[in-house]
Each structure stands twice: as structure tokens, then as C-alpha cells.
Amino acid sequence: MQPANLFLLTLVLAVLAYGFGYARSRSLAMPLGGIRHLKSLPFYYGARAALWSGIPALLVLGLWAAFQGKVIQLIVVGGLPPELVPNTEGQASLLLSKISNVASGALPVGFVEAPIAEAAERLQALRAQSRMLMSVLVVAVAVLAGFLGWLRIRPRLNARSQVESILKWLFFACAALAILTTVGIIFSVAFETVRFFGKVPFTEFIFGSQWSPQTALRADQVAAEGAFGMIPLFTGTLLISAIAMIVAVPVGLLSAIYLSEYANRKVRGVVKPLLEMLAGIPTVVYGFFAALTVAPFISDVADSLGINASSQSALAAGGVMGIMIIPFVSSLSDDVINAVPQSLRDGSLALGATQSETMKKVIFPAALPGIMGGVLLAVSRAIGETMIVVMAAGLAANLTANPLETVTTVTVQIVTLLTGDQEFDSAKTLAAFALGAMLFLSTLLLNVIALKIVRKYREQYD
């Protein structure tokens, strides 16, 4: 049976266990005079039986599915005649793919040596056996454990607290999964980054002001030496993000203030959903809006003013990105401002403060931590945004602070480095991981700083 089907079967068994557990607890309760003589409600007895049946079976299933491939490989390779046993890792993977190709029928048996054909047969047999064994084991565990859980139902059994504690661990496991994933991502990026710094010196990467990663892939190619200075990329990212925030933060914040403090219910009911619709537009659409409408407009205006502007500019990308981010800022700020108690507003108004004074001096400081949270989210959106920049700001890594020139960002470069034909040990490809690591570090730093600021200036209301 396939693991997916087996998974479903296990769930069905768990549901069955629930039903039986529920029924048994009810029938146990009957002679005692009703379910109020049970220690817990029938639901908990059923849930306990279901958890007993489901969790161990799923654990077995998961472990088996995770390790069966490796184990089978070891057995197959171990069974090969000595002259065929691979020496290097590269040979081993080649051999294994050959064997599995034969096994799946993609490679006809006649094309390979006899031992390999034999190995392929063995591989297939082992796979079938493993699947069989897994099915039997999982079903057996589910049924046995479920039965045990069912059998041990007693009126005095405190199933409620058992279920509660199992659930607590389940929730913890989910939380841990998210953390583990983050740790996994960090490690995978970190290893490649270290490899990259083996090829390109750390100082050159950090302080270099030249970025042209097009190195030769093969010996016969003619290409530049390659320069990996990240400064132009980070200044490009900063420039575009700054432009985006200059657009998004004031507009978003002021519209949030308007919506929460000044607009009446009708206006708010119309404007808020419309504003939030901005967030639903795909970034590609923003991208061609920026590239085909805004960027030419900016360069036309600049030309008519006698300023030299390129057809793709940081201003176009940043401005459109800012518009995209407005709903993030406004929606989050609006929620936070609304959460400030009405009593504070009344207190300020009753002292003769105007609405804007109240806003500036009481509501805004009280809402500041939440607003900062929204702005931070917007900043990370801006830093991570790729599509608009690719389309509207270009790919040229210019080190400039002029918003009318074309620039590029870290994320755009990561995309261009990793798309197309790649070789995974060239500095060019590894550079993407180094950039990713740097991006991660800088957003982390940003978060820490912002958290400190918020903690220092927050005005807590209770």
C-alpha cells in the first residue's frame, strides 16, 4: 500500500477507535445510572482511544517511510559483486540511478551488465516487501493500540486529563515544527554560505563595490573574472525599500487615522475594503504597471525638466511597491488605533483637546507599538519583494543613491543567480546563498532594533 493510502487508513482506524471508545464508555455508564457517573464525558473516552490508535501508528508510518529508501539502498549496494562496488560518492549515485532506472523499466534490461540487472530485480523485490511489511505493521499497531485503549476504559479512568495532556504535546509538536523548519533553513543557507566564503574572501563580499557574478561555467567559455561585492545590491535594496516606505508609511498611517477617527461608518464600510483590495493585486500586475506606465512617465517628466533619467528607475519600482504596501500599514494601524480604549479619547477631548491633538498626543503614542509592528511587516515585504524590481528597476548593479537610475536588489540577484543552468559548486551559485544569509541577518537585526525601540517608547494602557 502507498504511504498516502496507509495514512488515510490509519485515520479511518482512529475514527473507528473513537466510535468504539465512545460506545463502550456509554455502555459502561448505563448500569451505573447515566454518564454522570463516569469520570469523564464519553467524548473523552472516544478521543483517548482514537489518539492511542492513531499516534503510534502514524509514528511508525512516518519513520518507516523516511528510512526505507536508505536501508534498501544499503542492502542492494551490499549485494553487488566486489568489482562493481562504487569507489566515490559520484559513482555511487550514478550506479544507484542506473539500478532504479532499470527497476522502473525506463532503461531496458539488455543495455546493462547482468549484476546490475540482478540488483534491479532485488531492488524491486525489496521495495515490494518493504511496502507490504509497512502496511502490516502500521495496521497492526493501529488496531492493537486502539484495542488496548478501548479495553482499558473504566468508569473511574480520567480520560479527560489524559486527552488534555496528549493534546498539549500535540500543540507543542506543531510549534516545534515551525521552529525546526526555521533552524533547518538557517543551517542549509549557512553551509552553502561557508562554502562560498571558501571561494570568495569574506571582506571582498562585504566591502566590495562591484557586482558582476557572470563567471565562466566551463573552461572553454570566455567570461569576466566575476566580482562579488554586495554593497551595490544592498544599497539598491535600501534605496528601493526607502522609497517604498516613504510612500507607504505616511499614506497608510494617515488613511488609517482617517478611517478610525474621522470617517463615519458608511465611508469606512466602503473605503476600507477598497483599500484592502490593493493587497490582493498580484505583484506581477504591479510589476507591469510600474514598468509600462510609471517608469516611462517618470523618465518623461525628468526629461522635460532636463534631468537625465533611465527608462527603468528605482523611483518607479519603489513608488509602485509603496502603493502595494499601503494596505499592510493602513489595515494593521487601523486595527491598533481602534483598540485604544475610547475612555482615553474621551479623557483628552474633555480637557479641551481637538481631535488631532488627541490623535497626536494620546492615541498615537498608545498605538505606537502596534503601528511599528505593521511598519516592520511592511519593511520586510519591501525588502523581500522581487517581481516589481525585476520588471521596473532593472538588473544592473549600479552603486548609486540617485532614484532615477536603474538599480537592482538582493532578492532579484538571488533569482537571476539560481535560475537557468547552474553548477552547484561555482561561486556564482553559492553567492545566492551568501546573499540570502546576509538578507536574513539584516532583517533579523532590523527586528531586534525595532523591538528595542518599541519597548523603550511604548505607552502601555490597561
Binding site: 474633555a350 479641551g352 481631535q355 498626543k361 503614542p365
Partner: protein, 295 residues
């Protein structure tokens, strides 16, 4: 600002009015004649002159033709069962009802012979003259000093830091809070006890030197000791301010006020000197209320 203040909704909104538990005994049979108030509603030295005041929430009438004078430097207590409109009426005096979209006020309301609801009236100036203390202490989440200095700052009452310091100290002294907080003026106000917070709110209100202080059940969230302190404070403040206090506690009304006004279902039933209201009420509804037969 379209969110309604919860205390208003519970106090005087039309829905609540309909659900006020009215016992089947005598009081309901009593017909209240609209605009008719027994006792002494008028005064020769009126700070507020209020005539035929009506307040509407949407279609329903929360206040029904109330006429009343509030005299200079008197303490007047508004009492009455929940939902009778006393808070709504109080909030008309400094136009705090303005922030409620559906609320309309009719009639003539004058402060020192000037119309409060005149369209040319500067609400900021009005509220600087008529301060307010709320049911629940609502200090700003700022330092104690900044709370008291808030009003003087927005009205530009102090030119120098030393002037501001003086205003803050005086206000806190008047509120009987100075000795307790003089060493921690920079501490955040939300860390104080409930009673201290309410006295801070009173200090905040008197820091802009208003002529009138409105108090909307100022002690309902406080324990008896804090309540006693606030009541003492009201007695002291009555020397220099006109005070209008809404209260649910008849003992409190009896202790602190010179005159007492009894509200019932949006009507002003009886106004008289406090001891008279509590010893020999003229209206049978007032009598039923103060003797605890309903309310």
C-alpha cells in the same frame, strides 16, 4: 469617531430604556407630566441655564424637556435609576455627546448666558471651562507629570517650565495627591492604584482651571476608602468650582451635594436642597426611589 462610548449606551440608549426593570407597584402608575419638575429647579445666580432640553438617539428621545438651573459654586447631584438619562444630560453640558453620530440635542443650554450648542461656539474653549471626570479612571499611559500637564500644554497656559511645574504641583495638591506622588512624578500613571488614578484625573481636570467640573459616577470603580478621599476632595473643590456629580449612591449624594436632582425615564422629576429631597421628598417617585422601593 463613530464608536459609541459604552457607558452612554448602557446609560441612556433607547434599547436600555425599554428594558429598565420597572416593578409593577405604584411608581409606574404615576404619570409624569412632561417638562414639569417639582421643587426648586431655578436659581437667581445661574451658571448653567438649561431650558426644555431634549436629547434624541436616532428616533428615540432619551431626555424629555428638562429645565434646570445650576447655580454658581454649588454641588448638584444627579440621581436616579439606571437608564434614566442622567449621564446623557451631564454630557450635554460640555458637549461630549458630539462624538456620537446619532445623538441630537434640542432646547436652550446656556453657560453664563452664552449658548452652548451655538454653531459658532468653540467646543475647545467650552471644554476648557467645563472639565469632566469619568466613571472609570482614565489616566493617559504617560507619566504622572505629563498627565496633569496635558491640559495646560494644549491650552498654552504655561510659558516656562517653572510655570508648568507650579501648575502641576498646585493641581496635585488640590487633588490631595501631591504628598503621595511628589517623588515619582516621572512614574507612569497606569501603575497607580484605582483611587489615586481617579484623583489624578481630577487633578488633570482642574489643571486647566475650569469653572465647572462634571463628574460621571466618579467613585463607582473605587473602594470605600478611596471613595471617602474623593468625596472629601469634592467638598474642598466646591469652594472654587461648580460641581455636577452623577451618582448611584444616595449616601454619596447626601454627603457631598447642596442640591439633588432626581431623574426618571428621561424626565427631571424633582430638584431641591439635598436634605429636603432625602427627608421630605415632594414627588412620590422620588420617595419610592430614595426609600429603596425600586432603582
Amino acid at each position: 469617531m463613530n464608536t459609541m462610548n459604552s457607558s452612554i449606551t448602557s446609560e441612556a440608549s433607547p434599547q436600555d430604556e425599554a428594558t429598565v426593570p420597572v416593578p409593577e407597584s405604584k411608581p409606574t402608575d404615576t404619570v409624569i407630566e412632561e417638562g414639569k419638575t417639582v421643587g426648586k429647579p431655578y436659581s437667581d445666580d445661574a451658571k448653567f441655564k438649561l431650558r426644555d432640553v431634549e436629547v434624541f438617539y436616532g428616533e428615540s428621545r432619551a431626555i424629555k424637556k428638562i429645565s434646570l438651573d445650576i447655580a454658581r459654586n454649588e454641588v448638584i447631584a444627579f440621581i436616579g435609576p439606571s437608564g434614566c438619562g442622567k449621564s446623557t444630560f451631564l454630557r450635554c453640558l460640555n458637549r461630549m455627546n458630539d462624538s456620537i453620530d446619532i445623538c441630537r440635542v434640542k432646547g436652550s443650554l446656556q453657560l453664563d448666558d452664552q449658548d452652548i450648542y451655538d454653531s459658532k461656539r468653540d467646543v475647545v474653549e467650552l471644554r476648557a471651562r467645563v472639565g469632566m471626570v469619568f466613571q472609570k479612571p482614565n489616566p493617559f499611559p504617560k507619566s504622572i507629570y505629563d498627565n496633569v500637564a496635558y491640559g495646560p500644554r494644549i491650552h498654552g497656559l504655561a510659558n516656562r517650565k517653572s510655570d508648568l511645574d507650579e501648575i502641576v504641583e498646585n493641581s496635585l495638591r488640590k487633588a490631595g495627591l501631591w504628598e503621595e506622588v511628589k517623588d515619582r512624578l516621572d512614574a507612569t500613571a497606569t501603575g497607580m492604584s484605582g483611587g489615586q488614578q481617579q484623583r489624578l484625573c481630577i487633578a488633570r481636570a482642574i489643571a486647566v482651571s475650569p469653572e465647572v467640573v462634571l463628574m460621571d459616577e466618579p467613585c463607582s470603580a473605587l473602594d470605600p476608602i478611596a471613595t471617602a478621599k474623593v468625596e472629601e476632595l469634592i467638598a474642598e473643590l466646591s469652594e472654587s468650582y461648580t460641581i455636577v456629580i452623577v451618582t448611584h449612591s444616595m449616601q454619596q449624594a447626601a454627603r457631598v451635594s447642596h442640591r439633588t436632582a432626581y431623574f426618571h425615564l428621561g424626565h427631571l422629576v424633582e430638584v431641591n436642597e439635598t436634605n429636603k429631597v432625602f427627608t421630605s421628598p415632594e414627588h412620590e417617585l422620588t420617595e419610592s426611589y430614595i426609600t429603596g422601593r425600586f432603582g
